[in-house]
């Protein structure tokens, strides 16, 4: 037992969780915590809007595979975190959000929770549906246990954000505290080991399959299961398609990789998955953007679904063989049983057909023109940046072009808001990723509309010396919406023209970053190389034709079969 203030207990508990960096903005109700943080040795990155604190913590977590921490004051500070927390929740990212809260009790009763005090918001009520769990601290003595539980909940089972709401009087109050060595939560016991009988059933199905397909989701990346996934795929010679969140689960230059399925999936992936007689789906929630209409999605295939969250089994798609387990453990168990019962498959007829399809469609994907259009530009980008570079994206056309044309070779090197589709995510997430991996080149593939939403973080990037590069595919349009208006609303454009404002080069310069506008592929390549060489915050503005569509595309409410070319 040691006597500490609540703020000291919090910071000590964070250190014990090996927290190295916190993204945040200070404010009245969190000042005692910052006062302790000041000399704690934990780095604080002062962002310029709380939303970006949450996104940066999220990007940090996704790049590193360890929880990211963000902090804000009560009221507006806390509510500004909400979009970032919801983003992390939808993509199962372990983010710890710490918010200040007004006093619980005080001699002056005007400052109590529940009395609409200055900068009071019910952040527990607000974030309950978008966090895995949240806590409002009620005493100093419980601080160590609550912090330990928060990290445990955020990082185990299906990861997700956890919020700690910290009333200011408890931050300053002093009490005897004890730091627990382990966590015991009776209502939370995630299952991680696969049931042997289910594994056996899955192996039976996979060995009988003529046209097996593996669908890898974000869960494969979250559980670091790429090696196990490859072993199973190569043993079965089964093609691997991924969801958007699963991009990077298999190196996209692997002979069995076919790219992403879904609304903006590759032709090869969308066509092959519908041909499967046995589908092994790992760590995916069968989101609507991935499956297209459900009544045409793999209806005749036997579906094996591995997921650590049992509530995902049967939620969207009826499953024949459910396996509730950690993806890594389940795939390892599958491989062991497979290898004990059969020989590794050779070049099956199915593999040859898949290979043929892949070659045919790859050719279609290969952009030929020399013009400065996104597909070609993204192929070039892939060639010049190192394999382990981290790419983040914004949301919209830029994101889907990146999904289609930028090949990802390693897990945790492609970071994007897949579930919530949060415009403005990519840039702060890039800052978070660069903080986690200062040795890597980090680039945000952006659109001008998205980048405008969080561009103020140029200040953070420059001042905190976290150099990232932003490539703006600038069509001066809310491009994806314009594409839908073009295709599905008789070209009745409304509210999509951004009028070429601002001048991004001048904007970058105003923040002390490097800004460059390029007019050709050659200039683009030069600008990227320069950004890598100088290692300073760089904005590369790439004007592109405003009427460019991201194709192929499955129209909303249609089957994966019905692709617009």
């Amino acid at each position: 037992m040691v006597e500490m203030s609540g703020a000291e207990a919090l910071v000590e508990a964070l250190k014990r969780e090996r927290v190295k960096v916190i993204f945040g903005i200070i404010g009245g109700a969190i000042m005692p915590v910052y006062d302790v943080l000041r000399d704690s040795g934990i780095r604080h990155v002062l962002v310029r809007h709380e939303q970006c604190a949450a996104h940066a913590a999220d990007g940090y977590a996704r790049a590193l595979g360890r929880p990211g921490v963000c902090m804000a004051t009560s009221g507006p500070g806390a509510t500004n975190l909400v979009t970032g927390i919801a983003t992390a929740y939808m993509d199962s990212s372990p983010v710890i959000a710490i918010t200040g809260q007004v006093n619980r009790r005080s001699s002056n009763t005007a400052y109590m929770i529940g009395r609409d005090a200055f900068q009071e918001a019910d952040i527990i009520g607000i974030t309950t549906p978008i966090t895995k769990y949240n806590y409002q601290l009620t005493s100093v003595s419980e601080v160590p246990r609550v912090v330990k539980e928060a990290f445990y909940i955020a990082t185990t089972g299906r990861p997700g954000p956890v919020l700690l709401d910290f009333p200011k009087d408890i931050q300053t109050e002093r009490a005897e505290v004890e730091f627990p060595g382990k966590v015991e939560i009776r209502g939370y016991k995630p299952v991680t080991n696969p049931h042997p009988l289910q594994v056996k059933k899955a192996v039976d199905a996979l060995l009988e399959a003529e046209r097996p397909v593996i669908l890898a989701g974000g869960g494969v990346i979250l559980s670091n299961a790429t090696p196990e996934l490859l072993k199973v795929a190569e043993f079965l010679m089964a093609p691997v398609v991924t969801t958007f969140m699963g991009k990077g689960a298999i190196p996209e230059n692997h002979p069995l990789s076919l790219g992403c399925i879904g609304m903006h999936g590759s032709r090869a992936a969308n066509s092959v998955i519908l041909d499967a007689d046995v589908l092994l789906a790992v760590g995916t929630r069968f989101g609507d953007r991935s499956t297209g209409t459900l009544d045409t999605f793999c209806r005749d295939a036997k579906i094996i679904h591995i997921d650590i969250d049992s509530a995902e089994i049967g939620k969207n798609v009826d499953v024949d063989i459910p396996i509730v387990a950690d993806a890594k453990k389940a795939l390892r168990a599958l491989y062991e049983v497979l290898a004990s019962r059969a020989e590794k498959k050779g070049e099956t007829a199915w593999f040859r057909r898949v290979k043929e399809l892949k070659e045919q469609y790859e050719e279609l994907l290969e952009p030929q023109d020399e013009e400065l259009k996104p597909p070609r530009l993204l192929r070039e980008l892939r060639k010049i940046i190192p394999e382990d570079s981290i790419v983040t994206t914004e949301v919209g056309q830029n994101q889907m072009w990146a999904s289609l044309y930028f090949k990802t070779y390693k897990p945790r090197t492609f970071i994007s808001s897949g579930g919530l589709g949060t415009m403005g995510f990519g840039f702060p997430a890039a800052i978070g990723a660069k903080t986690a991996r200062p040795d890597r080149f980090v680039v945000d593939i952006a659109g001008d509309g998205s980048f405008r939403m969080t561009e103020q973080e140029l200040a953070t990037s420059v001042v905190e010396d976290i150099p990232v590069t932003v490539v703006i595919l600038n069509n001066s349009t809310l491009g994806m919406v314009a594409q839908w208006q073009r295709l599905f609303f008789d070209e009745r454009y409304v509210a999509v023209d951004l009028k070429g404002i601002p001048d991004f080069v001048k904007l970058a310069e105003a923040y002390g970053a490097q800004g460059v506008r390029v007019g050709s592929l050659k200039e683009f390549v030069k600008a990227v190389k320069e950004a890598m060489r100088l290692d300073v915050t760089t904005v590369i503005d790439v004007p592109i034709p405003p009427e460019e569509n991201v194709l192929p595309m499955v129209p909303p409410g249609k089957s994966l079969k019905e692709m617009i070319e």
Binding site: I124, G125, T128, P129, K132, Y133, I153, I185, R186, G187, Y188, D309, S310, A311, I313, G314, K315
Partner: protein, 171 residues
């Protein structure tokens, strides 16, 4: 067995007995679009746990999803489905009914006796009846009271236990 038939299901959940848990549970129901008919909550042993009895209308798939999403909540320690044929379920109602004259009063007392209900409060022109039973019994009794004029009704919602030696193991 038909799986897409809509009917009423009873679910029992053992939850942490602390502030905010009912909010988490009801918030999840609203967010996931589950249609709750009734929910009743009370502390059990040990005293830091509570039992929720939830009735919900839906098909098999809906109920399965609901149970999974309940179990996923950190504050829910255990979820169990109670099968109607194997369950004792009870509901309590307090009914305030007009009884302005002796004729009405004696008729009401007759019904109360038949239904094994009891009169818990009497005033000059009304009385409060307490009745316990399954929901159908309560519905039937309330129907009978309507002609007298019902001033107010309070129903608890169903609470239930499975029959026999079986019980929900907490840990």
């Amino acid at each position: 067995m038909t799986t897409n038939e809509e009917r009423t299901h009873i679910i029992a959940a053992i939850v942490e007995h602390k502030p905010g848990v009912l909010y988490r549970v009801s918030n999840m129901f609203r967010r996931r679009n589950f249609n709750i008919e009734s929910i009743s909550v009370g502390p059990i042993e040990p005293r830091d746990l509570a039992r929720m009895t939830i009735t919900v209308r839906g098909d098999e798939k809906v109920v399965e999803q609901m149970i999974k999403h309940l179990a996923k909540l950190i504050d829910v320690v255990k979820v169990s489905r109670l099968h109607p044929e194997n369950t004792v379920s009870r509901e309590l109602a307090l009914i305030k009914v007009y009884s302005p004259d002796t004729k009405a009063r004696s008729d009401i007392i007759n019904y109360v006796n038949i239904f094994r209900a009891s009169i818990v409060d009497v005033s000059t022109d009304s009385m409060i009846i307490e009745i316990t039973g399954d929901s159908d019994k309560l519905d039937a009794f309330i129907e009978l009271m309507k002609p007298f004029g019902i001033k107010e009704i309070a129903r608890t919602g169903i609470t239930a236990l499975s029959r026999g030696a079986k019980s929900i193991k907490i840990l």
